[in-house]
């Protein structure tokens, strides 16, 4: 028996994220490639310091990939002071390698990205707890309202009409 072809709409739905993801990657790569001739020291610094962000982006699976944003945000906050030092100091490739070899830059970059990971890992259980707390409160409020109705109208109120 020949297999039934999948519905047209479904195929389109599956194809769309893959296509848009490819476009984004191309765009990012093109911007980076354009920057390379003008700020190679910055690119070098960013490349080595933002490795955790790239790792987060590459390692996370599933539909909701938010790790690279959280890790990247904190990773970038660890890097940005050094970038400014580079931009407002000697903006050369030597200086960039010099900063990378210093260790402080990488410590900050990787340390902040570790905090990013920490936040990213801790946030879902916190939110789950919060949601559980609010739903419990809602259930309690509903049950209290039901109890009040029973007090006011008797057990008949719990019966369904008809």
């Amino acid at each position: 028996m020949a297999k039934k072809p999948p519905p047209k709409g479904k195929v389109q739905q599956q194809a769309r994220p893959a296509g848009s993801g490819g476009m984004n990657k191309v765009a990012v790569l093109m911007i980076l490639a354009a920057l390379v001739p003008f700020s190679l020291p910055t690119v070098v610094v960013l490349f080595f310091t933002m490795l955790p962000t790239m790792g987060a982006w590459a390692s996370e699976k599933g539909a909701h990939k938010y790790a690279w944003l959280c890790v990247g945000g904190l990773n970038f906050s660890g890097v940005i002071p050094y970038l400014f030092t580079l931009w407002f100091g000697v903006h050369t490739l030597d200086e960039a390698f010099n900063m990378l070899s210093d260790g402080g830059l990488l410590l900050w970059a990787y340390g902040t990205s570790a905090i990013g990971w920490l936040i990213y890992t801790a946030m879902p259980p916190v939110v789950a707890s919060w949601l559980a707390f609010t739903t419990d409160r809602r259930v309690a409020a509903l049950k209290a309202a039901q109890k009040k109705l029973v007090e006011e109208w008797g057990d008949e109120v719990t019966k369904k009409n008809g």
């Binding site: 909701h64 938010y66 959280c70 002071p81 990213y120 946030m123 559980a132 509903l142 008797g154």
Partner: protein, 680 residues
């Protein structure tokens, strides 16, 4: 305990000798009976008028199980016609000897003697020349007065006649109200038709029945004795049928010609030919008419053999058949009666009608036995159309049916036969056989049709009890709930229930039973049948509200304003009505309000409080809303509890998004700070 019992025993005779008091004015001495004034069904006692102690009175205490003639009491009270013992007062009174309310009638005490002490006694005969002046004139005046008031006496007999004066000049008629019409009348004073009926079912009859009784009484007066004392009632009736009333009573006695004329006129067995008041007036004024000759029914060429005897005419045969109901059916069904009518009586018309009735009975559908009974009833009516309604041994004039039913029910007898008569429409067979139209007959026929309607409904307020009160205007309510109270009118019902409320033993008993409901239905001027039907509603709150509605309407219309005991009784039963409100707050409010109303004794207010349709609708509406709220909350709780997996997935997604936002924000803030620090 023993002491208390002793006291109770010693108190009982004391109570029995206590006097009764009627309308706070007439004292009836229960320890002073007067045998000579007693009637067969009412004891007589000395009575005193508190306002005029010298007035000579006596009281008759009616038997509670027999319906007295209240309509006649109303008509006769205060009548000053010469021909009656004056009826001074009547009403219900607590009669200590039996400890219950009894109908009491107060009469002026005649000064002279009773005309005849008993029917076997002999008394001083009245001279033939005195008869017109001393007897006929006052009696005609009395009967005229009765006719003018639309009533009949039906107790005219020498043992119920008195001389009002010591000189034995003024003859008057005694009591006629303490029992159903003609109930005490010996058969000799009754017409053939009335004599065939059961004594309790003779009915009020017409003035013609009174004139017949007067005729018989005149014969007694002329002879000074009972001319037929040697005959028992059955023989007497048979002889009246065979020979006619005049011949039976006068026999071989020689009477003066003017009186023969009078007596033949009064004792004529054909009610259409019997003398009326006008004929008596003519006779009194001296105009002589030719004496009526009795026209006896034609005798058959050969007798009809039935139950070991031979009967020579239809009336005689019908009477014998009515007395032997079961034996009468086979010869009729076998066609022997038809043949006899055709050949021996030579009455082909009646024979044909009977043959048709037999054929219909044999072809009747489901209930063949009922068909045969109705057929025999119809056959008896055909044989003797003027006879009473005769059905399975019960013989009643149509207007005597009510008192018969009252007596049967008061004596707790078997009333099934009476119910059967009404349900099967037996009276209509009798009415259909009338040769001439009489408005009273069509009115009675309509009433019987109405009764059939009531009888087909078995709910409270209908049935045989309703028939009882519909047929007897003066019947006191027979409910056990009323105890010893004597309730004849609707306005007396609530006060009686109020009095009975204090004595009730079972708190859950309703103040309405079949008798009270039927009594209310029959006595209420408006149509309350819809409310009576609701009394039987299976929903307790609805039936209770129907009862409250009835009581409230009667209290509002007839009073009294305060009935605390009855209000408490009804108030103790309103639980289901209060519970019918859903709101607990409303219930509490009602429970707080009801005792206040009970203290005021107002059933009307109680009804208004509970029958607040606006509050009830609001309660229902709000309850429905509350029910919807409850179930919506239930649904939501269930949804929350069943969607925990989805929620944890959602929590992870939101957590990740939140972390992402936090990361971006930190990056932005850091950048901003660094920019400011470097540029500043």
């Amino acid at each position: 305990m023993a002491e208390a019992a002793e006291q109770a025993d010693s108190g009982k005779p004391a109570a029995q000798s206590q006097p009764g008091v009627l309308r706070d004015r007439y004292t009836v001495r229960s320890n002073q009976p007067i045998a000579e004034f007693a009637t067969p069904n009412a004891e007589a006692f000395v009575a005193e008028d508190k306002r005029d102690p010298n007035r000579q009175l006596f009281a008759l205490i009616c038997r509670p199980e027999l319906p007295p003639r209240v309509n006649v009491m109303r008509a006769l009270k205060g009548a000053t016609t010469m021909g009656f013992v004056p009826l001074v007062e009547w009403g219900t009174m607590l009669w200590p000897p039996i400890g219950r309310q009894c109908m009491t009638v107060i009469y002026e005490r005649p000064q002279g003697r009773k005309l005849m002490t008993n029917l076997r006694a002999e008394f001083k005969r009245i001279d033939e020349y005195d008869i017109p002046r001393r007897v006929v004139e006052p009696m005609v005046a009395a009967i005229k007065e009765l006719t003018a008031r639309g009533i009949t006496h039906r107790s005219i007999r020498p043992t119920n006649m008195w001389f009002m004066d010591e000189g034995a000049e003024r003859i008057t008629l005694g009591d006629c109200v303490s029992q159903p019409p003609a109930f005490d009348q010996p058969l000799v004073f009754e017409t053939v038709e009335s004599g065939m009926a059961n004594p309790v079912a003779r009915g009020s009859g017409t003035f013609s029945d009174d004139l017949y009784s007067l005729g018989v009484t005149i014969i007694f007066m002329l002879l000074g004795r009972n001319p037929v004392a040697h005959l028992d009632e059955e023989q007497l009736l048979k002889q009246k049928i065979q020979q006619g009333s005049y011949n039976t009573l006068v026999g071989d006695e020689r009477l003066p010609l003017p009186l023969v004329e009078l007596l033949r006129g009064l004792l004529c067995d054909d009610p259409d030919q019997r003398w009326d008041i006008e004929s008596l007036d003519l006779w009194l004024s001296g105009r002589r008419l030719s004496p009526l000759q009795s026209r006896m029914e034609k005798r058959a060429a050969r007798g009809f053999p039935f139950n070991g005897k031979e009967y020579g005419n239809c009336r005689e045969l019908a009477q014998a058949m009515a007395k032997n109901w079961e034996l009468a059916i086979p010869p009729v069904l076998e066609g022997k009666l038809e043949l006899w009518l055709r050949r021996a009586v030579e009455d082909a018309e009646r024979a044909g009608v009977i043959a048709e009735q037999v054929r219909m009975a044999l072809n009747s559908g489901n209930d063949k036995r009922a068909g045969v009974d109705l057929m025999l009833c119809k056959v008896l009516i055909i044989l003797d159309p003027t006879a009473p309604i005769r059905y399975k041994g019960f013989n009643a004039m149509p207007d005597g049916f009510g008192s018969a039913l009252a007596a049967v029910m008061a004596q707790k007898g078997d009333s099934r036969l009476m119910a059967e008569i009404i349900l099967r429409g037996v009276p209509s067979l009798w009415f259909e056989a009338r040769k001439s139209y009489l408005p009273d007959n069509s009115l009675m026929e309509g009433n019987f049709r109405e009764l059939k309607g009531y009888l087909t409904q078995t709910a409270m307020g209908f049935g045989l009890e309703r028939c009882l009160y519909e047929m007897n205007d003066s019947m006191p309510c027979q409910s056990q709930l009323l105890g010893e109270e004597y309730v004849v009118e609707l306005k007396e019902l609530l006060p009686a229930l109020n009095a009975a409320a204090a004595k009730r033993s079972d708190a859950k008993t309703w103040p309405v039973d079949r008798h009270i409901a039927a009594f209310m239905g029959a006595r209420a001027r408006s149509d309350i049948d819809r409310n009576l039907v609701q009394l039987a509603d299976p929903e307790p709150s609805r039936s209770l509200m129907a009862m409250l509605n009835l009581f409230a309407v009667f209290q509002y219309r007839l009073g009294p304003e305060s009935l605390p005991a009855l209000a408490a009784w009804v108030g103790s039963l309103v639980g289901p009505v209060v519970i019918a409100f859903h709101s607990r707050d409303k219930r509490k409010e009602l429970e707080k309000e009801i005792p206040k109303i009970i203290r005021r004794g107002s059933v009307v207010e109680l009804y208004n409080l509970l029958e607040n349709t606006e509050a009830r609708a609001k309660d229902e509406h709000e309850f429905n809303w509350a029910q919807a709220q409850y179930h919506a909350a239930d649904e939501e709780v269930k949804r929350i509890q069943t969607e925990s997996d989805e929620r944890s997935v959602e929590a992870v997604r939101i957590g990740k998004q939140t972390a992402a936002v936090v990361g971006i924000l930190i990056a932005l803030i850091t950048t901003t700070f660094v920019v400011i620090a470097k540029v500043w």
